[in-house]
Symmetry: C2
Subunit: 352 residues, 2 copies
């Protein structure tokens, strides 16, 4: 990619819209000066924020639209009134038209996925898109997918998730051959779903050059960082993600109430403040903000709707990396269509 | 129940066996003096432990067997050599023969479930048993099931889980009408599994007297304690449980390493020691040790294999409560077969 990384921003997305998106873009631009922004949304809301930021001003262009997708609309509603003209749609369309390399939106997840599917379509050979996210672990970070873009799925879908997740791991972690585990349950007498077993067999047999399949893993292995990429279908993935979020919040709550109980614990808290700051940073969802939509003909990053400028900047950073290190080409490569290494992994071809 | 609560213990179960089981029984006996124990296992291992505990000695009887199920055996192996004669089998058989009111084992989960199904059989109207556990939440505790006894399942299975879980909540929490939530995912465009939606419709329409159905809940709601009973099929349930375990461990690890970094944080730790003790207690898995097998013609408690005497005592306490407050009758009642309140909730009858 010789040119700058061109990032299309849905400036109206998220709980507050432009007042988070524009400052977030500015933070990310400082980290990646070779970025250009297309800002889609209401010019009257965006312009003053941009005028106050000369550095960003000269790297950004506003494309005005009056229409914004609301956070609580159903995907079908959003499509009905927002297609062709909402800031979300236009930001996606910029990627479709090759005017941008990646779209970042903090808008309504369902609407964003519906519009992305409708406009960008899934990659050849991929039936259903997925949402992947970075997950903080004891070893660093892992990629976990699918977090709820679709429910269920056969062995081929799980293999596709492994291929896409490992391509993302190559981009984000800079690994040649990321390790991939299939999430399963360890209770002896049930031995896991048939499609999970079949996917494991396929991945083992394919022995891909860009992906090291390490077998089944359990829920505890996510936090342990046992695999670089954790693969599961979207129902269990979404439940794992939200259960972990809830548990982390619960822990913070317990800790806070325990620390404020007596003068000794309060004094201890003051002395150990730095430790709690470190802990908060480790568990800070803003630092790993950004789900990646995988499997579409274009890169789309979903930032958390309730994030702040720092969090939105993390999502923009992630989009930058995906574009700069060419996520889509790496997926194609693992799918075996680049001629540059791996053999194809399609059930019809592998399972002979 | 006029007589004492009679508890059958698999004295050979768990990573260490009798040296945890016998002291655990002693601790629980102190809390519930109206308990009698049947100890199944190797007399030579149990007898000396019992002799040292005169209180327990007079409330316990040893039934000798040489055969013990190993922790890493497959259920089929365990059934082959352990049926009719292992300590695990005999402890279950005591319940089958009405010589005991409940079985507690820290042995191999898969083997215990296989033997329990084989010997006790599922209750009339229940197709598949489930494993339920107490889950610490911000509000106290909730019951979560199924944690992996079976995978998948239709709407009727989820309704059965709701019925059994709410009966357990009535016993453990002393509630008249526990709230029940169906675990689902919140991503708009997918809207959850068909069987989850159908189960929700059935539960809403049935409007049971002993169970308040509150709708779909998400992973974060488990830690928040939104529902007294959280219902999901075993694959997602097992993954939720183990993901939460992993996350809690991760948090403790982060905290420990952050607190030991400088002299200030170490001093802070010393001053706030009591707070960390409180925190550990809150997150201590021993305090909520014990999965309950639901849906069988008999009550079976599975204690964690690696637990200590205090943890095993918690499992015995749980078994005591289940027997004393008659879990099985409460399930029957909610199933509508007691004539004492609720109408039957079977798909053929409700969905007209």
């Amino acid at each position: 990619m010789p040119h700058k990384v061109r990032i299309a921003l849905d400036a109206m997305g998220g709980d507050v819209g432009a007042s988070v998106v524009v400052p977030g873009a500015e933070i990310s631009l400082r980290r990646h000066p070779d970025t250009e922004f297309l800002l889609f949304g209401n010019r009257a809301a965006i312009e003053p924020l941009l005028e106050a930021r000369p550095g960003l001003r000269s790297a950004a262009r506003i494309i005005h639209t009056d229409v914004a997708v609301k956070m609580d609309d159903k995907p079908s509603q959003a499509l009905r009134y927002g297609r062709w003209k909402s800031s979300m749609w236009l930001a996606l369309d910029a990627v479709k038209k090759h005017e941008a390399d990646v779209t970042v939106s903090a808008g309504n997840t369902g609407a964003l996925m519906a519009m992305a599917k409708f406009n960008l379509k899934t990659m050849q050979g991929i039936d259903r898109p997925a949402i992947a996210a970075l997950w903080p672990t004891l070893k660093g970070e892992s990629i976990v997918l699918d977090l709820g873009a679709s429910i269920g799925g056969d062995a081929q879908h799980l293999v596709d998730l492994a291929v896409m997740g490992s391509a993302m791991a190559r981009v984000v972690f800079g690994l040649d051959r990321p390790s991939v585990g299939l999430l399963n349950i360890g209770v002896e007498e049930v031995k896991g779903l048939e499609q999970v077993r079949e996917a494991g067999r396929l991945l083992r047999e394919a022995n891909l050059q860009n992906l090291e399949y390490i077998g089944f893993i359990e829920g505890t292995d996510i936090a342990d960082g046992t695999a670089d990429v954790v693969v599961t279908e979207g129902f269990a993935g979404n439940i794992a993600l939200k259960t972990a979020e809830g548990t982390a919040r619960q822990f913070v709550q317990y800790l806070r109430s325990a620390m404020s109980r007596t003068w000794r614990t309060r004094l201890g808290y003051l002395l150990a403040r730095q430790a709690f700051r470190t802990l908060n940073e480790k568990m800070d969802p803003r630092k790993v903000n950004g789900g990646v939509f995988l499997g579409l003909n274009g890169i789309v990053i979903k930032s958390h709707g309730g994030t702040d400028a720092e969090g939105f900047a993390s999502a923009v950073d992630l989009g930058y990396d995906m574009a700069r290190y060419d996520l889509l080409a790496k997926i194609e490569q693992t799918l075996g269509r680049s001629g540059a290494g791996d053999s194809a992994i399609r059930i019809g071809e592998v399972a002979s």
